[in-house]
Symmetry: C2
């Protein structure tokens, strides 16, 4: 294979151009260390072999895997993806090898990969990671290390796998002002909610089905409680608003309380319940940005909205920007191959920079907007309660809203067995004020039960 393609690329980096560290000449191999060999790591190694000639042409030199670090060497030695590749349990020594230019971190967890990634960056290696929890928790420290060394830190695969939303926020929308990002970024919960909506089954049954089919892990907590989506929301908000938003800044509510009745009520009102990650830039009356907020919660989405039609375990991200308008990106948000596709895209970028010089645009929190607590943000509530069926109860309960300055957009009362079902949809009001109303309603003598409170996509 030769690199004298029809496209001459006269600018080599051989004299030393990747940050403060030596670059590579055209045609020189770029050395890669892969940390972790789970589903994604295995697929990355497989595709690196399958696509090697193509990748070399796109990069300007071949990728050479110097070694794969795993916890248990015996478990992996002899598997076809590591044929001819060193397998080690000493990740640190692998990273430190002089012929390793780029480290691909696919271990998962936070503390141990954090140490390894920092070590790699400090040694002048660019890093590609799929680790959303790590990035959402420690973006500051990792970015600083990457910037100090002048190397790349890529993490497209950390959000929605092969849907290139990180790259889009980093680059394509770099000349625009992002106003809002709302996305279905967790395939497991979307599968569960979609199964409930399609079949009428309960949450428990849908979770069992998701587990059986491999969409949910044995311990599904991170998915169903929204933690996974919250990490992604933090990354999207940070990128989109040029402001550091970490996992701890993200309000997070999962889907475990959603009932078949909620799903059914949503359908009757021509809506669908989705677990959304919502990142918004808050503006005052004059249009000035006052802060940003990121949150994850079940949300009623009108059926006409493109996000409502995203079924099964698919992901989709909806972005609103001042000039670009509304954009949507849709695809597989998880799985070995789609995640590996994103990792390889990043790896090609990092390797190109080793050879041709330059750095990818890093996370750049220059705007430094205040991160506004969820309680201060405007939301809308859909409240379903069972109330005593007596004359005047509706007026009485409506007063609870008006006394707090919250106006109602819809009220529906239905006969039920012992009392009446009352469904109230509010106009937009401060989240903490709405929460306060729900607390009052819960203590109201005429309210037998608050059956559900679900927010609308405000």
């Amino acid at each position: 294979m030769t690199f004298s393609s029809p496209q001459p690329t006269p600018v080599s980096n051989a004299e030393g151009r990747n940050g403060n560290y030596p670059g590579k000449g055209i045609g020189e191999p770029v050395g890669v260390a892969v940390l972790g060999k789970g589903t994604v790591g295995t697929e990355v190694l497989r595709l690196l072999a399958e696509f090697s000639d193509n990748l070399a042409q796109r990069i300007g030199g071949p990728i050479e895997v110097r070694g794969v670090a795993v916890a248990n060497v015996d478990k992996h030695v002899g598997s076809p993806e590591v044929a001819g590749i060193e397998v080690t349990d000493d990740a640190r020594s692998l990273i430190a090898r002089e012929d390793v230019d780029i480290v691909v971190e696919l271990i998962g967890g936070i503390d141990y990969p954090r140490e390894l990634v920092l070590e790699a960056l400090k040694a002048g290696k660019s890093v590609v990671t799929a680790n959303k929890a790590l990035v959402a928790a420690h973006a500051d420290e990792l970015s600083e290390a990457a910037n100090d060394a002048g190397v790349d830190l890529y993490y497209e695969a950390a959000v929605a796998a092969a849907i290139p939303v990180v790259g889009m926020l980093r680059r394509s929308l770099a000349g625009d002002q992002v106003q809002r990002i709302s996305g279905i970024v967790n395939g497991t919960t979307n599968f569960i909610l979609d199964a409930m909506a399609t079949t009428g089954m309960s949450y428990a049954d849908a979770l069992a089905e998701a587990t059986r089919l491999g969409y949910a892990e044995a311990d599904p907590t991170a998915d169903v409680e929204g933690h996974d989506a919250a990490s992604k929301a933090a990354i999207l908000a940070s990128m989109g608003f040029h402001t550091r938003v970490t996992y701890d800044d993200v309000y997070c509510e999962g889907i475990t309380k959603i009932t078949a009745e909620d799903i059914d009520a949503a359908r009757q009102s021509n809506q669908t319940i989705k677990l959304l990650a919502i990142c918004e830039r808050l503006v005052d009356a004059s249009g000035e940005t006052t802060g940003v907020n990121a949150r994850v919660h079940p949300t009623l989405v009108p059926n006409e909205h493109p996000l409502a039609t995203v079924d099964k375990s698919y992901n989709a991200i909806f972005v609103e920007a001042e000039a670009a308008g509304r954009l949507m990106f849709y695809g597989n948000g998880a799985g070995g191959a789609p995640t590996a596709s994103a990792v390889l895209g990043d790896l090609v970028g990092a390797a190109r920079n080793k050879i041709h010089g330059g750095r990818a645009p890093a996370e750049n929190p220059y705007a430094n907007y205040p991160v506004v607590a969820f309680g201060e943000v405007d939301t809308r509530y859909h409240i379903n309660m069972t109330v005593n069926d007596r004359i005047g109860v509706l007026a009485d309960l409506a007063r609870t809203f008006s006394e707090s300055g919250v106006s109602l957009s819809a009220v529906r009362q239905e006969e039920s067995g012992d009392g009446a079902h009352l469904i109230v949809v509010t106009h937009a009001a401060q989240e903490k004020r709405l929460q306060g109303i729900v607390d009052k309603l819960a203590g109201h003598a005429d309210v037998q039960a608050i059956n559900s409170v679900i927010r609308l996509d405000a």
Copy 2:
């Protein structure tokens, strides 16, 4: 404004790093020449002023517009977007200015912008263009000039405005193998087809409506005959398959022959007619790539397909890649602001590279697959004809297909006034063979008329 953000960026390019031409230091202004001040140019200038502080932070130095070149200076002097900016009809001198680092070409047409862009690239200026016709016709020459100079040539805005499909193919999918791209890439024709489908109106009425609302130009030829979409197909195929595909390589058929009856028949069979740009990598039985093809034609899309739901003047691009699977991108594919968003995203990229070094991945046709003529490609036909209503006619006509080795997937016969309506849907077969059958049918004694031939998304 200072550039000592929380993110130190130690690598400056002041010593000279953009190709063979001097780079800029951090905080130094990047000089831009804007060629053309139509809808997009005006919006670019407006947003450059509005976003200037943000862009400077993202780039590492401010953008300074050195001048705007227009055909008629008097027409533009005094308009607010050029306050304090030189307006000239001498584009060449503006490009040649030493303090111009990047040229933004928004003139349109082919020959004149081609000369200007080549001149700019040869003088070491990076170029951002929204000119799909120019890129689709002359990508080879332009890429070569950019590569020789080691500068950037960006054209995200040339395809589907702010939908970042060029960037996605260039970067996000750089580690994957694209198999197929099918997209609605022309807003005018999608508006017309959608209006016909929604209201039942004729093509002529829908075109008139599109013209009245500003979705169609006074001379709509480039849109309705598919030429605009064909340019975009050439660009998408070139990027996606790493193979030079030019406008002349793209088979092109517009929507002018689509009737209200065609639209109605599609609806009855649970399909929608869309003008698709289709780019495919052709593979043999062993999976080896044998070539690529790009084409534009009206296409029957099943209503369950995400592309079927793309309404009004929206664009959407559906990409299938080996590892990533199916991805879809959706948004405004035209208009001043969305196109300007894409131009500014490119401009930020090009300006970053002037300051921080490096080059964006250029079009790279290393794979150099044969571009296969449309006649050789497999397609599927939906043929609607009026035939004599006599015993045996169906068997007779069916033989025309079987004799050519084409099998049928569906046949529907309906009574009509003078004869019978016969609708035939074929299985996949070579385009030229299917075309040959249609020619035979047209000359068949029992065929009164071929009412329409529309391809299915094979």
